[in-house]
Symmetry: C2
Subunit: 128 residues, 2 copies
């Protein structure tokens, strides 16, 4: 599966942050870019608007959503037919559950590794 752009930039003074990609198998992965795209579809109600918000072409956004829909047992996003590119789209309950699990993994992983992250923070170059 193609990777979605993913790097969210923490501010200079921020604590280290975890970016988590879940390698589901040798082909399929779920990372911060795809999850962000799903959240933007939920917010905007449209794949094209969600793609635009990530500086992504409609085609690329559509392909990523299509891949996600095929990766899981049920569709994560449903589109209205006959929309011709600009048609509406919304998250299914299944899609919302995938987002919820991914976000919970991020929170739990960060919490479980906080002391190690702080040790790495202290080992960083001063002023960087």
């Amino acid at each position: 599966m193609a990777r979605a752009p993913s790097r969210s930039k923490p501010s200079r003074s921020a604590e280290p942050e975890l970016s988590i990609r879940i390698d589901l198998d040798e082909e399929d992965a779920l990372g911060p870019g795809k999850i962000r795209l799903l959240e933007l579809v939920r917010e905007h109600g449209s794949i094209s608007s969600a793609g635009r918000a990530m500086d992504m072409s409609y085609r690329r956004a559509w392909l990523l959503i299509d891949e996600l829909n095929r990766t899981f047992r049920k569709p994560l996003v449903e589109t209205q037919k006959g929309g011709g590119g600009g048609g509406g789209a919304q998250l299914t309950a299944f899609g919302n559950e995938v987002i919820r699990l991914y976000r919970a993994i991020g929170v739990d992983a960060t919490q479980a590794t906080l002391s190690h992250l702080q040790s790495l923070q202290r080992m960083r170059a001063i002023g960087r």
Copy 2:
């Protein structure tokens, strides 16, 4: 900092695996590719051999190591002078500690999120 190639491919029947990138700040990140490179330098005693083992040019491997050495307070890798590209290299105690922390973060994060990962696994398409 440039990204090192990172995707390790779990086998088809494997449980989902976490790939963790630690975003230290807006410029510097530490992910599976750089850690693998460091481990290969430790194993091979040479930046060029380590790079080769990852299908990476000597130049690219050297640049990644140089970046890592600047990211942290102390060098992670020490090279013998006068080697002219093929000179030996070894991990410092500091470099070994960075690897240890990164690997501990992976283990602790996976353990803390196992039930969520298994939920995602059950939501995947059958036969993929």
